[in-house]
Symmetry: C2
């Protein structure tokens, strides 16, 4: 069985081989630019790890794995336009480096090419049909998640359940689908494939809440981003929405106006918000929910009809994503 | 066999049944808005006409036909953003009525839903695989065509062969693919399906050149648009590019500066450009090319292994599209 790093390296070689040189260059260049950007490559490696449980011949999984990564990058290309984001992975985003029109059109192309890679993956029409249906349902959910995310920007208050639905759709279903796809390519039973889906779903939601948590309470060196960014940008995170839920009606207005106060210095705003968050114990609430989601994920992990020694890399990946040492 | 109008009405009923009411509404509303706009519905009816040659049960063709129309509308939604177009079919375009972000995201969704409709079309996995591959190859070509179109805006001069490649990719391949899809759903032989493809391809290119021709030389009541719009907007049409090809080197600068001169009144500019066009006989060149393309289209029509009485509606459609009376 291959390690995370070995699989990442196999995938990166494959990415290089897929480099597009077709005309018109203005259409294909942005695709190469984004696909070759350095990244953790969590999704492709996760898919390969799961496929590798069932088969040593992981070459056959590569077209579908590549398709998932291309779909993910298509969403980044379009989301960056919608979110007006200038920088991704320390480099200019596509619409900044090229222009908005090219980012729209090259994104469209990537979406279509994701399908092309699945269509060319194999001769097993039954498997391919299942993969395409899962991929399509997932892609629709991801669009729904992005729309909810945009809708939430214009709302003062969002129920936590709606926030959890949004992160489930926007990010977790793709991780879930990635795990399940690896299982399907490997030839897992339907039950095992479903357990992999639910494992990925819980892991994905937990990962996103942890991201919110680390943005405020993390160590900037480990987290890789400046701490407090969400607070500075008045982002409606799990911590903020939980605080809104917990704070008494009398103090709610105070919290809302503090969180939206951009006249304070960054340091002051972060400090004041954190004092309020701490008084409401929102950190503990976030940790408890992450714990619960990870327990769910491990329930599905343990329900797999696969000998545990074959699941070593899956377990490492789960712990790596949640940066827990156990 | 059904008539054009009967098939259009069957299709419009189907569109109504597909109306989306899912959440989030902000994502799904623009899809309904564009899909329900009044239009000629050339593509869906063309596909149904061809399928109807082989089978009376055209209900089974509807999901795929709907997918083609949805794909076409997705390209309109995104092209209108890229082209900065405010009006489509006498109504505000999606990014004007809603906003750019919603037009990007709802367009993405439509692209994905086009696949969903094909995936749900039938249980015949071999047919479905073929339909999906044709659809995907076509969609990639349409993106290439749109990129060439945008590239050409920044160029002073474009070879006519490049212009023809652009209109082939941007519009004709979808019509070709539509005809072929109808044939494939109907169960045509591979040879017949290929003839339908090439028939549609030639027809599509001819249609586009005729569109250029009518914009300058048409009757505004029949054409449905103001005559001379392309000249006013300095559009690089077949007529202009042919004129550039034919005009002597000495007069080329004069033509280029006249065509790009926006200080003239609209009436003056149209008149002066037409005098130049007339002196070079570009109208006749356009008519000759349309004639040649239509002959090619009819060669493929006559090569079909289908009794001619079954092809009546196809022939009417071909003549209707080129508005010729024969």
């Amino acid at each position: 069985m291959y390690s995370f790093e070995e699989l990442k390296s196999i995938f990166l070689d494959y990415v290089q081989k897929q480099k597009l040189t077709d005309e018109p260059l203005n259409l294909y260049t942005p695709v190469n630019y984004l696909m070759e950007m350095k990244g953790k490559r969590i999704r492709p490696v996760a898919c390969l790890i799961v496929a590798n449980i069932f088969t040593d011949d992981i070459q056959k999984a590569l077209p579908v794995v590549y398709s998932i990564e291309m779909f993910h990058n298509f969403t980044l290309m379009h989301d960056d336009i919608m979110d007006n984001a200038d920088i991704r992975r320390a480099q200019p985003t596509v619409h900044i480096k090229y222009n908005i029109n090219r980012a729209i059109l090259s994104g469209d192309l990537m979406m279509i090419m994701s399908y092309k890679h699945i269509l060319n993956c194999c001769d097993d029409l039954i498997l391919k049909n299942k993969l395409l249906k899962l991929f399509t349902d997932t892609a629709i959910e991801v669009c729904e998640g992005q729309q909810y995310d945009m809708d939430f920007e214009d709302k003062e208050e969002i129920a936590l359940s709606d926030y959890l639905l949004m992160i489930k759709l926007k990010t977790a279903v793709l991780l879930a689908s990635t795990f399940k796809t690896g299982a399907m390519i490997g030839g897992a039973s339907d039950d095992d494939a479903d357990h992999f889906y639910k494992l990925g779903l819980n892991l994905g939601i937990a990962f996103q809440i942890q991201d919110d948590l680390l943005d405020t309470y993390g160590n900037s060196e480990v987290f890789g981003k400046k701490i407090g960014g969400d607070i500075i940008q008045n982002k409606k995170t799990f911590l903020y929405l939980k605080a809104l839920e917990l704070v008494g009606e009398d103090k709610k207005t105070q919290l809302i106006s503090l969180y939206n106060d951009n006249s304070l210095t960054e340091k002051d705003k972060i400090e004041k918000v954190k004092i309020l968050f701490n008084s409401l114990d929102v950190k503990k609430h976030a940790e408890a929910l992450i714990e619960e989601l990870m327990e769910n994920a491990f329930d599905h992990f343990h329900a797999l009809s696969i000998p545990e020694e074959k699941l070593k890399e899956v377990k490492s990946l789960m712990n790596y994503l949640l940066k827990r040492k156990i």
